[in-house]
């Protein structure tokens, strides 16, 4: 797929295959969108706009809806229905149902066997495929880049643009190669890789870029691990992160509901194999990390860039030379009620949340279940496990993971975003500390006044058992 012999990156190949009109001095490029994911929270005003202008949805057959953000994860009633107690959330869900039905968009309603977090269901249904353009009114759309798709979050006006025209106006981003060389040690996961990358570049470090994750450690990750990494690209400021597709990718997709079949599969495969970056292609920027030097990571502050190796000490504002950064760190430690120079290991916690589009897939749940099996969650800790989709939930239950979690004293919930965004009543109380497998530790993100330590499912599980922030490797050694 070299064009005129010029080597190209994965991003450039996908970008140029989707430009309806090239960028000019006066106008951004017009990009064709293969798949549009919609959910209840960022779509209502876009549908209203369509109604006001008498427009239809151009390609309902390239659009799919699911309910996830504001939905309860509390148990079903005797009729098998998950009741929605919050009147505003209920109204938003009703509006979403009507919008999808009026405009002919297939949609998975709350409790449906296919419902789940938008970034979990796309891949699991085989809708997410290499070389596609995928958008959603949600910044973690970057998740789908794990398949070698160009996938990014958009605002509600842009949701309206894609609904009406299946296209988007976009200025071409720059590219950054993010190389992760070497192999991960025991107890160190994909989540630790991405937390380390963000700690290194800072939360605005990737603004204006699309990341391409490369190197031995990325190649060795499962698709679910790659999704965890790509998911948090936006926490480094990059709207999209991509991984070149390989046999791991193709094996994952093969046989899924929307995967190509028969001759279509062979044709797709030969196209997908041409997507990886050509030798000699160049990036606008490049960074490198050594996976073998990584330990479990944890955040201490109020943005995902404020992360460190789990055994490190919280940085001191006085050591920060940049004035604005010093103020930011001071403010963050004040909110988190942490002292400069203090260790997080051994810090008592109140809640452990395992879930979110970062870490709620079956392999995340298996990892955590394996760890808590035969152990008990500390009395002082509330542990919630929220599967990313109804399909993940069923799979986990068929493997008995729900029983393992329950026996350990954890809550096993219905699927959804839950405490990642705290819109549905699943939230921290003011002052509480949580170890969370989600992606954002902003002030109040998991509940007003709540304090989040972001970490991997292993670290979260170990901390739940110990009741304090714990390096999972110390408990693995004790096994």
């Amino acid at each position: 797929m070299k064009e005129n012999g010029k080597p190209r990156t994965l991003f450039e190949k996908v970008w140029s295959a989707h430009t309806v009109r090239d960028q000019s001095d006066d106008t951004p490029a017009v990009l064709y969108i293969d798949l549009h994911l919609v959910h209840e929270v960022t779509s209502p005003q876009a549908f209203s706009m369509l109604r006001e202008r008498g427009l239809s949805v151009r390609r309902p057959d390239q659009t799919i809806g699911t309910m996830d953000h504001s939905t309860p994860t509390t148990p079903r009633n005797e009729l098998g229905i998950i009741p929605v107690a919050d009147a505003m959330a209920a109204k938003q869900l009703d509006v979403f149902t009507k919008n999808c039905s009026d405009f002919g968009i297939p949609m998975y309603a709350l409790g449906d066997e296919h419902q789940g977090i938008v970034h979990v269901i796309g891949p699991e249904k085989g809708l997410t495929q290499p070389g596609m353009t995928i958008v959603c009114g949600d910044s973690h759309t970057s998740t789908h880049g794990a398949f070698g798709a160009l996938a990014f979050g958009i605002g509600t006006s842009e949701v309206g643009h894609v609904l009406a025209t299946q296209t988007l106006l976009q200025n071409k981003p720059k590219t950054m190669a993010v190389n992760v060389e070497g192999a991960l040690g025991d107890g160190v996961t994909a989540k630790d890789i991405i937390l380390a990358i963000i700690a290194k570049i800072g939360i605005g470090g990737g603004t204006g870029y699309v990341f391409e994750y490369r190197g031995e450690a990325i190649r060795k990750l499962s698709m679910e691990g790659r999704m965890t990494v790509c998911n948090m690209s936006i926490e480094g400021g990059a709207r999209a992160g991509m991984v070149a597709p390989d046999d791991t990718t193709f094996d994952y997709i093969s046989g899924r509901e929307h995967a190509p079949r028969g001759a279509g599969w062979d044709a797709a495969l030969s196209k997908w194999r041409q997507l990886p970056t050509d030798d000699g292609a160049s990036y606008d920027a490049e960074i490198t990390l050594r996976a073998d030097e990584l330990t479990p990571m944890i955040t201490y502050g109020t943005n995902p860039g404020m992360g460190m190796p789990i055994a490190a000490t919280v940085p001191k504002p006085e050591d920060e030379s940049d004035y604005n950064k010093k103020i930011a760190l001071d403010k963050a430690l004040n909110y988190m009620d942490l002292a400069p120079g203090q260790k997080l290991l051994g810090k008592a916690i109140d809640v452990v949340f395992i879930g979110s589009c970062t870490n709620s897939r079956i392999s995340d749940l298996r990892l955590a279940a394996d760890f808590v099996k035969g152990r008990k969650v500390a009395d002082s800790v509330r542990m919630m496990v929220v599967p990313g989709s109804q399909q993940v939930k069923r799979q986990a239950e068929s493997e008995g993971l729900d029983e393992i979690f329950r026996a350990a004293g954890a809550e096993w919930r219905e699927a959804g975003c839950s405490m990642c965004i705290a819109m549905n009543g699943d939230q921290l109380q003011p002052g509480q500390y949580a170890v969370s497998t989600s992606n954002r530790n902003f002030e109040g993100r998991q509940g007003k006044g709540g304090r989040s330590f972001l970490a991997s499912p292993l670290t979260a599980a170990a901390s739940a058992i110990a009741g304090v922030v714990t390096d999972p490797r110390t408990m693995m050694a004790a096994n």
């Binding site: 309806v20 064709y32 005003q45 057959d61 297939p106 605002g155 842009e158 106006l169 103020i327 819109m423």
Partner: protein, 203 residues
């Protein structure tokens, strides 16, 4: 969208880096199905005390001397995090017409421009100067000329800021970007004819 050609207004500073969209408008306010009334939720968790209603006297936006401010000066990397367009809706609802920072998160930048909220990028020195000016004299006003892409400070210094041509055209003429895309229907049809559909969600 209304035309935006000039802004003349006083400034207020929140000199905090990385102000994320969860601070600009917390997620619990996203259960709305329209854009109205979000101004009172802007910076809600900083603006009000525990009860969510009593204004926090410590927070700058509650200071009576800054009530007229229409230009917000913020720390680096403003608007990071979630893609919620409720962030510019809330800022505009709270009376802001422009935000000044050293850089903006990509999605926030796009969302702001689509609603006529102007993101103005300045260098770190200018940002610091504006922080000081706002603190020393709450009546400090700036003026913005969108066509010329200039921000004029009280001392008369005019600073150029970047603005892509297309967004500028839309702001100056009060047109939104959808009209442009709708007019490309033939090109989109030709693209679809050349490129087979990738997945069908209805299949």
């Amino acid at each position: 969208m209304e035309k935006l050609t000039h802004i003349q207004g006083s400034i207020v500073a929140i000199p905090v880096n990385d102000i994320d969209t969860d601070q600009i408008i917390p997620a619990r306010f996203l259960k709305v199905t329209n854009k109205e009334g979000l101004g009172k939720a802007a910076f809600c968790d900083w603006r009000y005390l525990e009860d969510g209603e009593t204004p926090n006297p410590e927070f700058i936006l509650n200071d009576p001397v800054y009530q007229e401010a229409s230009v917000l000066v913020a720390g680096d990397n403003f608007g990071c995090g979630s893609s919620r367009e409720h962030a510019p809706w809330a800022l505009m609802g709270a009376g802001f017409k422009a935000v000044i920072s050293t850089d903006f998160a990509d999605i926030f930048n796009n969302n702001a421009l689509k609603n006529g909220l102007l993101p103005i990028i300045v260098d770190a020195d200018t940002q610091q100067q504006l922080f000081s000016l706002a603190e020393e004299d709450p009546s400090t006003a700036v003026s913005v000329d969108v066509e010329a892409q200039t921000l004029t400070l009280p001392d008369g210094r005019a600073i150029n800021f970047p603005l892509d041509e297309f967004s500028k055209y839309c702001l100056l003429n009060g047109v939104d970007q959808l009209g442009y895309l709708l007019a490309l229907d033939e090109e989109v049809q030709a693209f679809e004819a050349r490129n087979p559909q990738r997945v069908a969600t209805t299949a």
